[in-house]
């Protein structure tokens, strides 16, 4: 899968439209799921689009030091952090917050979903990112530390703290 992805990215770098489409189809779900837990829904979609556009224009910079998925997550994370700092987006986020609550659809029980959302809201964006990569996307701590550009110890403590918080919530709701 990793080799396949690297070949795909090489084709993207050479300007192949078909390879770019395949890259999007293959990774969009994971990247968007990751971003949706970091920020509100519309902004997550916006950042996900920017991530793939950056992948298109920066494909030649991929050196194979990580796998393609980690590389995409690293781009998405940098863009999410930048968005967090942006005044314009912060203002828009405040006004669109209600839409997010209305638009969310999921098979999970609403009370559990709300409890998870509430628990995640008490965590910092760094903690949420570490938690998502390690628990939802199966990254090792080392891989997550590389993708998030954080020290390994910090990632471990973020995951442990976030997991504790979510376990508390699960214990309360089950």
């Amino acid at each position: 899968m990793t080799d396949d992805d690297a070949t795909l990215l090489a084709a993207v770098s050479a300007g192949s439209e078909r390879a770019f489409n395949t890259l999007i189809d293959r990774h969009q779900q994971a990247v968007r799921a990751f971003l949706r837990r970091l920020t509100w829904r519309d902004e997550a979609e916006d950042i996900a689009q920017e991530t793939f556009l950056a992948a298109w224009s920066q494909a030649h910079t991929f050196r194979g030091q990580a796998n393609v998925r980690s590389w995409l997550f690293a781009i998405a994370w940098r863009k999410a952090k930048d968005a967090q700092r942006s005044w314009f987006r912060r203002r828009q986020r405040d006004t669109d917050y209600q839409d997010m609550a209305i638009n969310e659809t999921s098979e999970t029980a609403p009370e559990l979903r709300l409890a998870i959302d509430h628990a995640l809201a008490t965590l910092s964006i760094q903690q949420r990112a570490a938690l998502m990569l390690c628990l939802a996307h199966g990254f090792t701590h080392e891989e997550a530390a590389a993708a998030l550009d954080m020290p390994l110890g910090t990632v471990k403590s973020h995951v442990a703290r976030g997991r504790e918080r979510l376990q508390e919530i699960l214990g309360e709701t089950q």
Binding site: R32, R36, R163
Partner: protein, 129 residues
Amino acid sequence: MKQTENQGATQQESLQKESPPLRTELTSANADTIGRLLLATAPPARDPFFRIRILERRERQRYKTRTVTLCTTALLCIAGLVMTTINATGVNAAMVTLVLGASLAGACWFYAPAFTHLVGGRSTTLKKS
């Protein structure tokens, strides 16, 4: 002998407590449940609309870059032409500058909304509700 074995076992246990192996920590049932819950808001695995929105946005970016480059080139050409005409014919430079400035201001006022939309606008079409 037995005591030494016990001591070894206790040391091993305390080492494990100090640095729990990563995979053991992440493969517990709770971690799976939490992972599943975290992915509850994930989008569908296949979403052609998302791909179309990206391609549309990329085309818009290309169009923007092309238009800005063309506008800049056109302005530079006009400025060069005017300077050459002034130098060659010796007409009143202040008058020409005034007329040109007024024309440019008028054009800016007329095209400002379209230009703002082009340069600052975001992808709005094909947005999935």
